[in-house]
Amino acid sequence: MTAIDWKNIGPLANIPVRGARRLCFGLGGRPIAIFRTSEDEVFALVDECPHRSGPLSEGIVSGHTVTCPLHNWVIGLADGKATGADEGETQTVPVKLVAGEVHVGVPKVLARGRV
């Protein structure tokens, strides 16, 4: 497995409860969405719906799912997989909470050299 760098992206309070924010840097050029659930858990996914690349960070978050704002696909936050009858998967990104701050794991090779 590729080694990862953990990046602190700031306090959990920056992200609304049952909401998400898009990250300013991407993963290999692809944007990342950080989600916060009603239980204050955090998840991170590549911010592209597997269907038509809609911004998942703008969707309605409920439980451990987010609904894409473009065509209502419901994506699991933990595994990035489409639920129900739809099929598809968006990439998950490692994320953890450390003392109220959100840390995102990015592969070392990508992290290096990115600003």
């Binding site: 992206i9 300013c24 009603s38 409920s62 609904t67 704002p69 473009l70």
Partner: protein, 820 residues
């Protein structure tokens, strides 16, 4: 296909309809494709479809694709040669061949005739005019839909099952519809006079006009039908005339081949014709003097015919007691057997509840049921039918039988709903497809089915007309032990409660937060889902103006960020232009903002405003700030709320204008902007009946006339174009405003979330809306007052709030990272 080496017998099927293909399906089920090489000729250009459901296609409840029974792949997979759009024109019994219109000749060992029926067409002058059609096939439905798109008035000749379904479908498609019926009451072959009258009353309330005891003398018109002339002098203008007075078997082909025919092609109990190699099934046959128009006995015929074709020498067809039902949303009708007592020794028991529109009648003979007519509540229909078929002795429960099973069998302690557990295995559940309780339960157990759609796929039960869906669901619950939630569709998967139930409880029980509602109804998911979150948020907002705090995270992104998300994740910005009016200063401001933020596309909308497309989310507050400075505010083009009020220039400029339509449009928009509604709302005001503002396809339209203002409601210009229903004519602008406010509030309080006004009105009926807004003036004023009260909390420009810093986190980016 190698014609020489194929050892199988050749079966040719004339007719690609339900009866013929059902027989083929039954045959494949019995023997696979081993015995016959099958060739099917169909006169229509389509694959095999469910003709019963054409009325649902007409009404817009289903698409043509939804009613396809077997796709072309199915024919290919089962090695069936299908020739569509090519009717057979000749049967040569000597040579054992059939020849089609295109000149294709195919030899047969066995021949199946399933040519169905054609509409009965008496010699009425004008029948061949353009604008006259039957209601029999997809081509007819296409004609009717085309007419509904471009024309207004339809007359349906025939007030039987088919005619009423056609009338309702056309009404749903926005036409004004009249039904001409020869008899004094509707559906007289299936309903007694009392039930027929209730049916007429309910359909009349839904806006269908009736001309009973009307004998059509001619269809008038020179190039095209323009009306229906009745023998008693009445005349009904029409753009479309639909003939639905009955059907007659298609027997010409059989007669030409000298096969025995009478009214239909004569068949024996084994479904064979006078030529032992030729069989016939469906609406083209006559069996023991009887011809057939309902699907249930035809399925029985298909079964018998398939068994016979595959070598079973015992299968016999016998017609059984039949029931009928009507496919009109919200109207429940059931009838079976005798409609009334034949003589004094018969026992007729009726129950009538005019207020609730309920009617039940059972006919008993020698203590056994021989007929039942139900109107309004048909839950016991299948039970009655079973009692009739089983010839059950009912003497012991005679006094209670009309109240239905739950009551009649009281003592055996049954709660409610049909008691599927105690039904015998051979009890017929699905009349359309001839599926018994035993068949369904077996399929559920053997194939481990758990859902309605699976049971439909495997057994076809409830897959045709759908009336037995409740029974099938009860059987699934019974067989699997899992309760299927049902009746009123639930708001979403998080609850079993429906929209109305929840809305009532919010007001009656004082539920003031999402948590209150979820606790009260035992929500399955603590956060709800993307369906219920916005709905509950809206319901609470509507019920508790000024008290309930909007929950941004429960809103769809557009309403959260007050702009319209586009496919690439950018947004569109549409400022309000009151009544479609603008000024040089506003246009300057728009031009500068477009240049300053490099906005890629500027487009004039259909709602008389200007759309700026491709704005980045983080630029939104700055864009709004610049627009605000010129006095431009949010146009709510993203909201389930008032969008535009489209106007024409009216009496101020137009030489035809009768009133100040632009000014009235601005007043309406100033009054109603900012309000949240179940779905988007569009208004228009036209200054004269030329209607340049297209007011008759808006949620609320005003058409100005010399005498005042015609208010029309419930129009829609989207997928399902629907012309408005007239509400009322008033004489002053103040009255228009009062009606508009009351209409908005009634819609806000009673429609389901995501219902546009058109489907809402189609569901509750224009007469209901009139009874609340026109007939009840005190109620109208109260509704308007509630609307104006709630407006004071929401008429704040969401853009300027955000320019001032509200919800700033929404538009701020997360702090950028630096490399470690």
């Amino acid at each position: 296909m190698n014609m020489i080496s194929d050892p199988r017998e050749r079966l040719v099927v004339i007719g690609n309809g339900m009866a013929g293909m059902r027989t083929v399906e039954e045959m494949l089920r019995l023997e696979g494709g081993d015995r016959f090489r099958v060739t099917v000729f169909g006169a229509e250009p389509h694959v095999n479809y469910n003709r019963i459901m054409l009325s649902s296609v007409l009404a817009g409840d289903k698409s043509v694709d939804d009613i396809v029974i077997n796709s072309r792949e199915w024919y290919r997979d089962n090695d069936i040669a299908l020739l569509t759009g090519d009717p057979v024109t000749r049967i040569d019994r000597e040579a054992r061949t059939v020849t089609s219109a295109n000149g294709v000749t195919v030899p047969y060992d066995r021949l199946l005739i399933a040519t169905g029926s054609r509409p009965l067409a008496p010699p009425i002058p004008g029948l061949s005019l353009p604008g006259v059609c039957a209601f029999r096939n997809i081509a007819d439905v296409d004609k009717m839909l085309e007419s509904a798109r471009t024309q207004k008035r339809a007359v349906v000749i025939g007030g039987g099952l088919l005619g009423l379904e056609a009338a309702w479908g056309l009404k749903q498609r926005g036409m004004s519809v009249a039904v001409v019926h020869l008899m004094p009451t509707l559906m007289e072959r299936q309903l007694d006079a009392a039930a027929g009258q209730l049916l007429q009353r309910d359909l009349d309330r839904r806006g269908i006009a009736f001309f009973t005891e009307g004998l059509t003398e001619s269809i008038t018109g020179s190039n095209c039908a323009d009306g229906v002339q009745l023998a008693d002098g009445r005349f009904i203008p029409a753009d479309l005339v639909v003939l639905a007075i009955g059907i007659q078997p298609n027997i010409d082909l059989a007669r030409a081949a000298e096969i025995e025919v009478n009214r239909g092609i004569v068949v024996g109990d084994d479904m064979s014709t006078s030529d032992p190699n030729i069989f016939a099934v469906g609406e083209c046959v006559e069996h023991r003097g009887q011809v057939f128009g309902l699907v249930a006995p035809i399925w029985d015929q298909a079964k018998v015919c398939a068994s016979r074709l595959t070598g079973d020498k015992t299968a016999l067809f016998a017609s059984r007691e039949l029931s009928t039902s009507l496919k009109i949303t919200g109207i429940d009708v059931f009838s079976a057997g005798a409609l009334m007592a034949a003589d004094e020794s018969d026992d007729e028991i009726t129950l009538r509840d005019n207020k609730h529109g309920l009617y039940k009648k059972v006919v008993l003979r020698d203590g056994k049921m021989v007929g039942a007519v139900l109107y309004g509540d048909v839950a016991d229909g299948s039970w009655y039918l079973q009692l009739m078929r089983d010839k059950t002795d009912l003497s012991a429960m005679r006094d209670r039988i009309v109240f239905g099973r739950a009551f009649a069998e009281a003592g055996s302690v049954k709660t409610s709903g049909p008691d599927v557990a105690s039904m015998p295995d051979d009890a017929q559940i699905c009349g359309c497809n001839g599926v018994s309780k035993g068949g369904i339960v077996r399929a559920i157990k053997e194939k481990e089915l758990t859902s309605l759609s699976q049971v439909r796929a495997h057994t076809k039960a409830s897959a045709s007309c759908g009336q037995c869906t409740g029974l099938v669901e009860a059987l699934i619950a019974h067989a699997t032990g899992v309760m299927v939630e049902k009746k009123v569709p639930a708001l979403c998967d998080c609850t079993s409660a429906g929209h109305d139930e929840i809305r009532k409880a919010i007001v009656a029980d004082g539920l003031k937060s999402m948590k209150d509602v979820r606790d009260a109804f035992g929500w399955k998911k603590p956060d709800g889902c993307h369906k219920c979150c916005p709905a509950l948020n809206y319901y609470l907002l509507c019920a508790w103006p000024g008290e309930y705090h909007d929950d941004a995270q429960s809103r769809f992104v557009n309403e959260r960020v007050h702009a319209n998300i586009q496919k690439d994740g950018t947004y569109s910005v549409i400022p309000r232009m009151w009544g479609g009016l603008t000024t040089p200063a506003e246009l300057h401001a728009i031009a500068s903002v477009v240049e300053k933020f490099s906005i890629p596309t500027v487009k004039v909308t259909g709602g008389q405003r200007i759309d700026l497309l491709g704005v980045k989310k983080e630029d939104l507050p700055a864009v709004w700030g610049d627009l605000n400075k010129a006095g431009l505010v949010s146009g709510h083009a993203y909201a389930k709320g008032l969008r535009t009020v489209k106007t024409c220039v009216g009496s101020e400029w137009c030489r035809f204008g009768t009133q100040d339509s632009t000014g009235l449009g601005v007043k309406l928009e100033k009054m109603c902007w900012g309000s949240w509604t179940p779905h988007k709302v569009k208004f228009a005001v036209s200054g004269c009946p030329r209607n340049c503002a297209e007011a008759t396809i808006k949620d609320l339209g005003v058409v100005c006339v010399e005498a005042g203002y015609d208010i029309v409601i419930g129009g829609n210009g989207g997928i399902d174009v629907r012309v408005t229903d007239p509400l009322v004519r008033v004489s002053s602008e103040a009255e228009v405003l009062e009606y508009a406010g009351a209409f908005m509030q009634l819609y806000r309080e009673e429609a389901h979330y995501l219902d546009r006004t058109a489907p809402w009105i189609a569901r509750v009926g224009i007469d209901y809306v009139k009874s609340r807004l026109v007939d009840d003036s005190a109620g109208r004023r109260a509704l308007n007052a509630r609307f104006l009260y709630s407006q004071q909390f929401v008429q704040v420009d969401p853009w300027s709030e955000r320019v001032r810093g509200a919800e700033s986190h929404e538009f701020a980016r997360l702090p950028a990272l630096t490399d470690a």
